[in-house]
């Protein structure tokens, strides 16, 4: 059976998210995205053991994680299984899943792990009965989802891409199936032009996925800074109520506090962190470690500085951490006299926003900068947005298949082979609307061309 992957934990922000990969190539797929800190490969370790390390998509670090290996038949599904436990939060977990899918796994169908478990004799009869009901319910949901989650704009866009390709495919089909007929020849340049156009549209749709996610599901953002620069006040300003305990005593926030806030079109999953500095207090030190961790795994860093103070060593350390990351520097306390060296800050973080958390000024500027940083400013909300990983995976395969068709044309591959790649792309796109590709092509042939004896 093919190797499948899915998020095994509930689809919500939790402490930990688990991505389960099952099948013949499960461990090999995991090895493609996972780099252990010890430099060990997952394929070299025994079942029931784990490695600590990081997940990469190509060369981009996504998250740190623990990967646990189960070897067939001793696993839930009875197949080789790799379970990647990463930091909870829907976005990170989804990105890890996507990396895993890109590495060769296919998305698991509803109830697939359980089905495999049953087929491999891991679950008994009584359990199977109840599981069938669950699968059925999930299947219905998935079916409904296929129809409904494709919102109007997206389905129009996908249908239009599929229609372009169906037309190309039908053109090739009729040209090959009715060679003697008076039908237009399928020209390589024309096929390529349309495939290229469809490919570009798909790539655009795929690239909007991340920005779209920022809009629909939110972006993890860590508020970091030296103690008492006003991080919690900022958090409260953005959330609109006193979520963090604000006191004038430095080090009040000892743990990471998370809150989801809406800033214009973007949803930010804000984490207010303990102030980063050297501390002898054990509890506080743990909090500071978590802050650093949060800073490293967040998609956006909001670094807060006290404008009324000169930059401290702790500030410089923070700035250094933020270098080359998606970060915005907030110069807080603009209501007081400015002593900070803004030029120094800009060397590390080019995007600087002046703000008075106490007075509530500068929020609009912050929003603009964040929108710019996340690319949501350019996000055209009137165009379709892929809304889940399944849609993303389908479009991704379609795009890859089109790329193959275009490359094939460049290399001089004949149209019969090129058309197989195009048909595969159509199949993947129509999977989202529940149509069958071959029938669509045949219908197009009869609708558009006058052929026959």
């Amino acid at each position: 059976m093919s190797t499948v992957a899915a998020i095994a934990t509930p689809n919500s922000s939790g402490g930990i998210g688990v991505i389960r990969i099952s099948g013949e190539d499960a461990i090999a797929v995991a090895d493609k995205v996972f780099r252990s800190v010890l430099g060990k490969k997952l394929c070299d370790i025994k079942g029931y053991t784990a490695l600590f390390g990081h997940i990469y998509e190509n060369d981009t670090l996504i998250d740190e994680c623990v990967t646990l290996i189960f070897r067939a038949p001793k696993s839930y599904t009875g197949e080789d299984v790799a379970e990647i436990s990463c930091h909870g939060g829907m976005y990170v977990t989804q990105r890890v899943l996507r990396a895993v899918l890109a590495a060769g796994a296919v998305p698991a169908q509803a109830g697939e792990f359980t089905k495999r478990a049953f087929l491999n004799g891991k679950i008994d009869l009584a359990e199977a009965e109840s599981i069938m009901n669950v699968i059925s319910a999930q299947g219905q949901q998935a079916l409904d989802a296929a129809m409904n989650t494709l919102d109007g704009k997206l389905s129009r866009e996908i249908n239009s891409i599929a229609a372009t390709l169906t037309n190309v495919s039908a053109g090739i089909a009729v040209w090959t199936d009715d060679p003697d007929e008076d039908v237009p020849a399928a020209h390589e340049e024309n096929v390529k032009e349309k495939a290229q156009l469809a490919y570009e549209k798909l790539t655009e749709l795929l690239s909007r996925f991340d920005s779209g996610r920022a809009v629909t599901e939110g972006v993890s953002a860590a508020i970091c800074g030296h103690p008492n620069v006003g991080k919690s006040t900022l958090m409260n300003l953005l959330t609109g109520f006193d979520r963090s305990i604000v006191t004038p005593v430095a080090g009040t926030t000892r743990d990471v506090i998370e809150e989801t806030v809406r800033l214009g079109d973007i949803v930010l999953r804000l984490a207010d962190t303990a102030g980063i500095h050297q501390s002898d207090d054990l509890v506080e030190s743990i909090g500071i470690d978590r802050s650093l961790q949060k800073l490293q795994t967040s998609q956006l860093v909001i670094a807060v500085f006290d404008g009324s103070q000169e930059l401290s060593m702790d500030d410089i350390q923070l700035l250094d951490e933020c270098k080359n990351r998606r970060a915005v520097a907030i110069i807080n306390k603009t209501d007081l006299e400015m002593k900070i060296s803004v030029d120094t800050v800009k060397e590390y973080i080019p995007d600087v926003v002046y703000l008075s958390a106490v007075k509530g000024e500068g929020v609009k500027e912050l929003q603009n900068v964040i929108e710019k940083l996340l690319g949501t400013a350019e996000l055209d909300t009137s165009s379709g947005i892929l809304s889940n990983e399944r849609q993303y995976a389908c479009c991704q395969s379609a795009a890859e298949s089109l790329k193959e068709a275009i490359d094939g044309l460049d290399m001089g591959v004949t149209l019969d082979a090129v058309n197989v790649s195009i048909d595969y792309a159509i199949e993947k796109l129509l999977e989202l609307t529940g149509e069958k590709a071959r029938e669509a092509v045949v219908n197009e042939v009869f609708a558009k061309f006058c052929v026959g004896k």
Binding site: Q109, A128, L143, M411
Partner: protein, 621 residues
């Protein structure tokens, strides 16, 4: 008075293209077989176009041949012009097409049946079939009663056939032959769901009345290729075809008289094929098209009758003559046979298994147009499969199912029995998802093994085939191990072909993969090339050039076959399967798939339903 006329293993009703392959396969498998035809002078008749093959149909003929069928051999013996279509568009879509001398083809087939051991060919109209205990009783119009263990229905367009020309209509088979009346009623009594389909044919005209000087010429290939893997002698082209076009005047005459068409006038209830539209259909549906092409094809070597491909019509005779005479080259045309539409009874093929046996009527099989398909080749393919399986079942052997990845034959049958059809079904290359692998050039490689196993391919032919396979493997090994070094001569060849010269040594196999190069072009620098036949080189070249694609198709095929071997018991009660969605239950009950693979291709059955079904079956139900 009824009398007992004999007992047989297999009885085939109809000796058209489906019936021929069905009765030959059964007889050659050792079954005592009888085949009935309404007239002995119409065995293997071609009531429509005088040609065999064409895109995807050529594939079918090659596959039939690899399984020991007769169609390819008959076509090779009686062709008058052949062309390999789509050369230059890639090997997957190469298709052989031949113009046939239709009288000679019919004579060849009649003689073939007459000389076949275990087979009796009879002129008789079967008017009733009934199950009597564990045997079928077939009654002829003259009250002869034949007994048979299995019956194959291959009635073509004869079953309650009705011909339409303008406002005239009458009961008839094709080409002025009697229709089959009465049989349909007994089939309905057995419980077969019959329905009406329609098709049509253009007029035939006298060659002497055509002005060929005004027509485009279409000649056969210089280098001809046979259909059959067994044909040794060279195929000669002795005839040519011509092309002409309709024009504004033709269109106007048709539009002015469209109310006189039985179809547009609402008299025909049968459903016609979209791909075989009448000229009036073409003009109504594609109003913007200025002209429509037609082919003028000879019907044989010793006749002046010419077939006008593209001009099928059911308009009145006077209108037909008027519009034909507007066409360039046909200004003085003399019509010999008038074009007509024909309506006939056929069955809904989803009531059949992939063996073409009816699910609810054991030992009864259907093939050809009776199953809702169209085309001689589609018919022959089904006849072969029905004949093979009827014989196997009677002999208590395992039946043979051809899956979608095995052949166009399998694709055709799977489409029919899984999706059904709302119009006569025609094979098309775009219907096969595995078409880069299902090529006409490798039909023998795909199917000879099966043909031999079921006894339709002789040991002699099989050994020749094994030898060919070995030669291909050896040659493949050779090109993979041969390194071509850079040289002046090599550079010259590469530059001439528009590809980069070598800088270091390169495997010959890698060079063959380059789109700009092929076996022929590499001849000069491939000094160790053995003297092999072209088909060996062709196989190696195609497999190399398509390697990446074929590899992927093979892995898709492996995935598909994993589901194909999971059988669904015939007595499954889908109402008992907890968790199946209602829509899925309805569809599964209707189609009753034989395995999970077939179930997964039914529209309205979701992957989740398949999971539920797998679990249900896994439980040991």
């Amino acid at each position: 008075m009824k009398f007992n006329a004999g007992e047989f293993d297999v009885a085939v009703i109809g000796a058209g293209h489906a019936g021929i392959e069905a009765c030959l396969a059964a007889a050659r498998s050792g079954c005592k077989t009888v085949v009935f035809t309404i007239t002995l002078d119409f065995v293997g008749n071609m009531p429509c176009n005088p040609s065999i093959g064409g895109t995807s149909k050529g594939h079918l003929v090659r596959e039939i041949d690899a399984l020991g069928g007769e169609m390819g051999k008959a076509a090779d013996k009686t062709s008058i012009q052949t062309r390999m279509l789509n050369r230059g568009k890639g090997p997957a879509v190469h298709s052989l097409r031949a113009q046939i001398d239709r009288r000679r083809y019919s004579a060849y087939m009649k003689h073939c049946l007459e000389t076949q051991d275990n087979l009796e060919l009879k002129q008789a109209e079967i008017v009733d079939i009934q199950r009597a205990g564990d045997i079928w009783e077939l009654t002829t119009k003259l009250d002869a009663v034949y007994k048979a263990k299995a019956v194959i229905l291959a009635t073509g367009t004869f079953l309650d056939g009705k011909i339409y020309v303008g406002d005239k209509c009458y009961q008839s088979g094709p080409d002025g032959v009697f229709p089959s009346l009465g049989l349909a009623d007994s089939l309905k009594k057995i419980g077969l769901p019959l329905r009406r389909f329609k098709t049509g044919t253009p007029s035939r005209v006298n060659r002497r009345s055509i002005d060929f000087s005004k027509l485009e010429l279409q000649e056969g290939d210089e280098k001809t290729v046979p259909f059959s893997f067994e044909t040794q002698e060279k195929i000669e082209n002795t005839a040519v075809c011509h092309i002409s076009y309709t024009n504004e005047k033709t269109k106007q005459i048709i539009l002015d008289n469209i109310h006189r068409s039985p179809l547009y006038g609402g008299k025909i209830e049968g459903i016609g094929p979209r791909y075989c539209p009448s000229i009036e259909d073409k003009i109504m549906r594609f109003a913007e098209k200025e002209r429509h092409q037609l082919f003028i094809e000879p019907c044989g070597s010793d006749t002046e009758e010419m077939y006008l491909q593209g001009m099928s019509s059911s308009l009145p005779e006077d209108v037909q003559l008027a519009f034909l005479r507007t066409i360039q080259g046909l200004e003085n045309v003399e019509v010999m046979r008038v074009a007509y539409a024909i309506e006939y009874d056929c069955v809904d093929p989803v009531t059949m298994k992939p063996t073409l046996e009816f699910k609810d009527v054991p030992y009864l099989y259907g093939a050809g147009q009776f199953n809702g398909s169209s085309g001689y080749e589609e018919a022959a393919a089904q006849g072969l499969v029905a004949g093979i399986n009827a014989a196997l079942k009677i002999q208590g052997k395992d039946e043979v199912i051809f899956d979608r990845a095995s052949s166009y034959i399998g694709t055709l049958i799977d489409d029919l029995v899984t999706k059904g059809c709302n119009e006569p079904y025609r094979m098309m290359t775009s219907r096969s998802e595995y078409r880069l692998y299902l090529r006409q050039d490798n039909a023998d490689i795909r199917l000879t093994e099966t043909g031999h196993r079921i006894g339709l391919i002789s040991d002699e032919r099989y050994n020749k085939f094994l030898n060919k396979i070995e030669l291909i493997a050896e040659e493949r090994k050779r090109v993979e191990n041969t390194v071509i070094a850079p040289s002046e001569k090599a550079a010259e060849v590469f530059i001439k072909c528009g590809t980069a010269p070598l800088t270091t040594g390169c495997r010959l196999s890698e060079l063959i993969k380059r789109p700009q190069l092929d076996y022929e072009k590499l001849k000069e620098i491939d000094t160790t090339r053995p003297d092999l036949s072209d088909d060996i080189f062709e196989q190696v070249e195609t497999e190399l050039k398509y390697e990446g694609y074929i590899k992927r198709q093979r892995s898709q095929i492996a995935d598909m076959r994993r589901l194909e071997v999971k059988l669904i018991p015939e007595n499954i009660n889908y109402d008992d399967v907890t968790g199946l969605r209602l829509e899925a239950v309805e569809k599964l009950k209707k189609i009753r798939p034989v395995n999970i693979g077939q179930a997964s291709r039914i529209s309205g059955v979701s992957p989740a339903d398949i999971s539920v079904l797998l679990i249900y079956l896994g439980k040991g139900n």
